[in-house]
């Protein structure tokens, strides 16, 4: 969709004002016959209007190298223009999203185009995590005399997703988890990575190869080995997106994304609960496609007004969380609600690992008073973490240090 708007400039307003006053002066001074003295002004306006008013016939497009980019990377944005008429002075402004920072070139230029000329303009932006919508390009033409201008908004919508930067981290939990017992019913899992569990009586339909001949000889009945399949634990990522922790929210998301890649490499299945004001639940699943889906959601996550995380967690634990899953809880634990959520997880018997970025480690004190305040707050936080330690394994992460080191410190790798 294109919107074009013609406007007169401030300069034209001055000129019109002068024209009006001159005509009125001719009137008031009873020199009406001398009104021809305004002819130069009239001719100037006439020429500007009838010879230099363009239709702004320009084709423009924007090219982004990818739609997903790692946060912190610098990308080239290309604007391609083709003028279908002569445009002596064209101002172009690509309305870049707030989250992007121009590091080279400019998203605003003034160029001159002749008819049929094509031009490529480039600038470079630093990408931050999140969804960055490029919405429109503003084209503005001013006539050579600066009397009027034409604004045209070219709505070219494109989205750039800043994907969280992923670090290599150790696994802070045991990947051996939920066992599925191979029972009397035929199961496709029999024979794939199974471990001996018990001996039971042979049931019709069981494969012959599981018959335990020694036990059969000993008991006089046909006995069979019962296996339990060796299955990896289900991991549920819970991200506390309450706005109180906005200062470390990017770190929080990076940590979640890093541990998600770790889970993918371990072959575990994982789900995601993004506890924003409206919670987002991605059911437990395997594989790369599922990983990228979760990463997309993490990329778009933003700190939100959420005082309901305990309720959200309790509701999903009852209805969605797989039994005996490993929970990974990402929260600075700043609010009572987020701490209650941890208690709920623990009360329902889940193993919980809390990755808690320390929000005070992200602040550089600017004065002695601030330094003292941070020390007090850090002490308070340490006491709080000690209290919460009974509900799960807590990784207290100083965000200025690598997450790897913080995890290694807790799990004694």
């Amino acid at each position: 969709m294109v919107m074009t708007e013609f406007k007169i400039t401030e300069k034209a307003e001055y000129l019109f004002m002068a024209l009006w006053v001159l005509v009125l002066m001719a009137f008031f001074l009873l020199r009406w016959e001398m009104v021809y003295l305004v002819l130069p002004v009239l001719w100037l306006l006439f020429v500007a209007v009838f010879f230099f008013k363009p239709t702004l016939d320009v084709e423009i497009s924007r090219k982004l190298p990818h739609d997903r980019v790692l946060e912190g990377e610098i990308i080239d944005v290309e604007l391609r223009l083709k003028a279908n008429e002569r445009i002596p002075s064209l101002r172009i402004r690509d309305m870049i999203p707030e989250g992007l920072e121009v590091v080279e070139g400019s998203n605003s230029r003034v160029i001159s185009l002749s008819k049929g000329e094509e031009r490529v303009l480039r600038y470079r932006v630093l990408v931050k995590r999140g969804v960055h919508p490029f919405e429109s390009i503003l084209l503005s033409y001013e006539d050579p005399f600066g009397l009027f201008y034409v604004d045209r908004v070219e709505n070219i919508y494109q989205e750039l997703v800043g994907v969280p930067r992923i670090q290599d981290v150790p696994t802070p939990y045991s990947t051996r988890g939920t066992k599925i017992t191979v029972g009397p019913l035929p199961s496709p899992r029999v024979g794939e990575g199974v471990e001996f569990h018990a001996i039971r009586e042979y049931q019709p339909g069981d494969p012959l190869k599981i018959i335990n001949w020694k036990a059969t000889a000993r008991t006089g009945r046909i006995m069979a080995n019962e296996y339990e399949s060796e299955r990896k634990v289900d991991v549920v990522f819970i991200v506390d997106a309450s706005y109180t922790g906005f200062i470390v929210f990017d770190d929080l998301v990076r940590a979640a994304a890093s541990l998600m890649l770790n889970a993918l490499n371990d072959g575990t299945s994982f789900g995601l609960l993004l506890a924003e004001e409206v919670p987002l639940w991605v059911r437990v699943d395997y594989g790369k496609r599922h990983f990228f889906k979760c990463i997309d959601f993490l990329s778009t996550a933003k700190p939100d007004v959420n005082n309901m995380i305990a309720y959200q967690v309790e509701h999903l634990i009852r209805s969605r969380f797989p039994p005996r899953a490993q929970l990974l809880y990402f929260s600075p634990l700043l609010t009572e609600e987020s701490r209650n959520a941890l208690k709920t997880m623990s009360e329902f018997g889940y193993n919980v690992v809390v990755v808690s970025p320390n929000p005070y480690s992200a602040i550089d004190p600017k004065s002695r008073e601030e330094e003292l305040a941070l020390k007090l707050l850090s002490l308070e936080r340490r006491v709080m973490l000690q209290k919460m330690a009974s509900y799960g394994l807590i990784v207290d992460w100083d965000v200025k240090k690598p997450l790897k080191a913080a995890i290694a410190e807790v799990v004694n790798i």
């Binding site: 002819l39 130069p40 002004v41 209007v49 002596p88 034409v150």
Partner: protein, 143 residues
């Protein structure tokens, strides 16, 4: 090292011509020139100068082709100063000069036409012209 002067000096040409013509016109008119000097830098002051100069010409009855050329040079000075400030392409000066100087043949044409036209009540002509001017400005503003 001397700082390079980036400002174009083209506005000085009509300014000097205007000064000379004003000297022959009426010495009192020279008092307005400082305002035009400000107009070289600020367009609003240029517009004020145009109003004052026009009023001065009306008041002193300096019309005719001489008065019109004075107005042309005044407008040309103000507009050229704007192009100088904007560092506009040189080809933009040409339509500007031509446009303002078109007032001269128009004036002669009107002078030639005047005896042939039926005499009209001057107030009626004034009213028609005001309405026409108003409509023109509205159409320009709306695009």
């Amino acid at each position: 090292m001397k700082p390079a002067i980036k400002r174009r000096p083209f506005a000085l040409i009509p300014f000097l011509l205007l000064t000379v013509m004003m000297m022959y016109l009426d010495k009192r008119g020279l008092l307005l020139l400082p305002i035009l000097l400000l107009g070289l830098q600020w367009y609003s002051m240029g517009a004020v100068f145009l109003v004052l100069l026009g009023s001065f010409l009306f008041y002193t009855r300096f019309g005719g082709s001489y008065g019109l050329i004075v107005m042309i040079l005044a407008l040309l000075t103000v507009e050229t100063a704007y192009l100088d400030r904007e560092r506009a392409p040189l080809r933009h000066y040409v339509p500007l000069t031509l446009a303002v100087f078109l007032a001269l043949p128009t004036y002669y044409f009107l002078v030639f036409l005047a005896p042939l036209l039926p005499s009209m009540e001057v107030t009626a002509v004034a009213a028609v012209m005001l309405v026409a001017l108003y409509l023109f400005i509205r159409s320009v503003g709306r695009g």
